[in-house]
């Protein structure tokens, strides 16, 4: 196998194929090394993914359960009138509740000492909850009702082990001594744990009540924004891409447009927020904090993504298909709409959904149009109002919770992240399914 054996251009004998020569061995080693690198890279990626999901789920799970105190309660007509006649009405109701709770504990054979302040720290303003209930439902007077009163999120934390007697410091929110009552309530099976539906369906609660905070209203806000983004950016983006890719003549001007679209895709999203604030709110006087404005801003942000991915998928359609159609006398437009667009569809849809997913998770531009920090206390009154009534959006809501001083909101923020991730995953699954369905070979 030396050069000396090569004579007159005749190939050197290559040796037995049953023994691996040095060159082949070297190449095989290189290939093996490369595969190992690949596996390591994927392994690292998976490891971080698992860590990420584990920590999100661990931190977010408490948001999905809540503990409630359930006491059978009866208020007679006389008690009602008596309470309404006092100066501190809610105090009177609170006393009734304490009596009922005391009674219930005694029935269960549990001894406990507590006062109204403890109850307020554990269960919030019980008196006013009860009063409001009876003022709205006078017919329930004299009947036995049960109030599933949510405990404060610190009690949740105590029961799930997040807060321990050692780790907590006495505060106006919870005293170590209060936990004795919690233990008694657990003993008497008066305190129970249940799935926190209000977190899924409810609205934000304000800074003083982490237990009652829900993400539902901001899911609705995000939904309306996504509707705006989808119905504006898909048609505009696809039409613009088709025009630029298939019809526009190539000249300086279209080059300029092309460069600018790429530039727009790289513009930080907060810039779109400022633009939205200046144009949609200050100039056009659209309502602040409205999903419509959020949707418009996110449309601006999503358009370049959609245009770039749509143009890429149009480019990927083989030119032979266009030639085939043009060759039998189809017009440009027929060629595009009958042949090119259907083939580009999977790519366009994937790009659009990725754009939408990006928009769904975007927080920065919403800061500037007042959707962050806004306390969405309820749902919009109707479909059309959904676009213009102030609301929050999922990432904005998460940001708001995470920024609040009360650490109990931390659970909520993590829980919100779980909900947001579920939506994003659904969208990605839809993208994959659509791509599979539309995919055709040529």
């Amino acid at each position: 196998m030396t050069d000396a054996t090569v004579q007159g251009g005749a190939p050197a004998p290559r040796g037995s194929i049953h023994s691996i020569d040095a060159r082949t061995a070297k190449r095989n080693r290189a290939e093996k090394r490369f595969r190992t690198y690949g596996k390591i890279a994927i392994g690292i990626g998976l490891f971080f993914l698992v860590v990420l999901f584990a920590s999100i789920i661990r931190s977010g799970a408490p948001a999905f359960t809540r503990t409630v105190v359930d006491v059978p309660f009866t208020l007679t007509q006389t008690q009602y009138e008596e309470a309404e006649g006092t100066l501190f009405k809610t105090k009177a109701y609170s006393d009734f509740f304490i009596a009922a709770l005391d009674n219930q504990l005694r029935e269960q054979g549990v001894e406990a000492e507590f006062d109204a302040d403890t109850i307020e720290r554990l269960l919030g303003k019980v008196g006013s909850t009860i009063r409001e209930y009876y003022r709205a439902n006078e017919n329930q007077l004299g009947e036995e009702v049960s109030f599933s009163l949510a405990t404060s999120s610190r009690v949740d934390g105590y029961l799930t082990g997040r807060v321990t007697r050692e780790s907590m410091t006495d505060s106006r929110f919870l005293m170590a001594a209060d936990l004795d009552l919690v233990d008694r309530l657990v003993e008497g099976e008066i305190i129970t744990s249940e799935f926190n539906w209000p977190f899924i369906t409810g609205a934000d609660s304000g800074v003083d009540n982490p237990g009652g905070a829900g993400i539902g209203a901001s899911v609705v806000g995000s939904f309306f924004m996504m509707l705006v983004v989808l119905f504006l950016s898909l048609p505009i983006g696809v039409a613009a891409s088709i025009y630029l890719e298939e019809f526009a003549v190539q000249n300086r001007f279209t080059d300029l447009i092309e460069v600018n679209i790429s530039n727009l895709a790289a513009v930080p999203s907060i810039v779109f927020g400022i633009l939205g604030l200046a144009v949609f709110i200050q100039f056009m006087h659209l309502p602040q904090s409205a999903p419509l404005v959020g949707g418009l801003v996110l449309t601006l942000m999503t358009l370049p993504t959609i245009i770039i991915s749509t143009r890429a998928s149009l480019k990927a359609v083989p030119p032979s298909i266009r030639e085939a159609a043009l060759g039998i006398g189809a017009s440009k437009m027929q060629t595009v709409f009958h042949h090119v667009l259907p083939l580009a569809m999977p790519g366009i849809l994937t790009g659009t959904i990725i754009g939408l997913a990006q928009a769904l998770g975007e927080t920065a531009p919403l800061l500037l149009i007042g959707m962050v920090g806004f306390v969405a206390r309820g749902y919009p009154d109707g479909f059309l109002q959904g676009f213009v009534e102030p609301n929050s959006a999922m990432p904005a809501q998460i940001y708001t919770w995470a920024a609040r001083a009360d650490v109990a909101f931390y659970d909520k923020a993590w829980g919100g992240i779980i909900i947001l991730l579920i939506f994003l995953m659904i969208m990605n699954i839809v993208a994959v399914v659509l791509r599979r369905r539309f995919e055709r070979r040529w």
């Binding site: 030639e323 060759g327 039998i328 006398g329």
Partner: protein, 266 residues
């Protein structure tokens, strides 16, 4: 016309001419790809374009149905008359022209749709059928003329892209025929086909010449000799010689033609 001026004024013939080409120049930006080509392409005749790679056969063929319009840097000058009408006239819509001058490409390019829809697409967009029955009839007739009916008649709903290379090319020919063009341009239609499929396509071309003017670009001299009545030899963008196929192959007048057909250039 002076017969000896063979470089630029070859083979001008007045009878039953389909295409009259006068002083045709084609440029790709600065590249002068077709130079002073004068040729008359006859009706009900198979005309073969031969010549070494890159000599401009495809370029010239594509200027006959204005497919070169789709290449932004391409510019065509000179007169190309189809039945006496200038195809580059501002009044001409290339879409209408291409319905009259069909094209089959080198690489089979069926639409990623069913065999039926591949054929029916042209008639549909040109409104050639008034109802489903008529359309069915056109599809069957075209597939028969494409010599592929027997192979696909039981699976018209199957995708055209699932056929073999030779079948795909015959499908594309059937598709081109379905729009009832008057001229059929074929750019190396057999270069991706095996000998059996090639023979089928050649047979088909032979049948087509009864109704159409067929122009075929080919790399195979044997094929040109087998299927064509007229042959044009291109070299470096010039039309060197244009004559009866027999004449070109037995008695070439130009040195370059002779070298090419004897295999010395190409």
């Amino acid at each position: 016309m002076m017969k000896d001026n063979i470089d630029t004024k070859v083979g001008v013939d007045a009878m039953e001419t389909k295409f009259n080409c006068r002083d045709v120049q084609v440029y790709y930006a600065d590249n002068h790809a077709i130079k002073d080509v004068n040729v008359d392409i006859l009706d009900k005749t198979v005309t073969a374009f031969i010549g070494p790679s890159g000599c401009g056969k495809s370029t010239f063929l594509r200027s006959l149905n204005r497919m070169n319009d789709t290449i932004p840097i391409c510019r065509v000058e000179g007169d190309i008359l189809l039945d006496g009408e200038d195809i580059n006239d501002a009044k001409v819509d290339p879409v209408q022209l291409r319905a009259k001058v069909g094209m089959v490409f080198q690489k089979p390019n069926p639409f990623p749709k069913s065999i039926y829809d591949n054929i029916a697409y042209g008639p549909r967009i040109h409104g050639l059928a008034r109802n489903k029955a008529e359309l069915d009839e056109i599809v069957e007739k075209s597939l028969r003329r494409g010599a592929i009916w027997d192979e696909v008649k039981d699976r018209l709903d199957a995708p055209g892209t699932g056929l073999s290379g030779g079948q795909q090319q015959r499908l594309c020919i059937a598709r081109a025929v379905a729009t009832e063009p008057e001229v059929l341009l074929m750019d190396e239609p057999c270069s991706a086909l095996d000998p059996i499929a090639t023979a089928q396509v050649e047979e088909l071309i032979d049948e087509l010449k009864a109704n159409y003017s067929v122009v075929i670009v080919t790399h195979s001299m044997q094929q040109a000799a087998r299927v064509s009545q007229k042959t044009a030899f291109f070299h470096l963008g010039n039309l060197v010689e244009y004559d009866d196929t027999n004449e070109i192959f037995t008695n070439p007048r130009d040195q370059r033609t002779e070298s090419y057909i004897t295999g010395r250039i190409g």
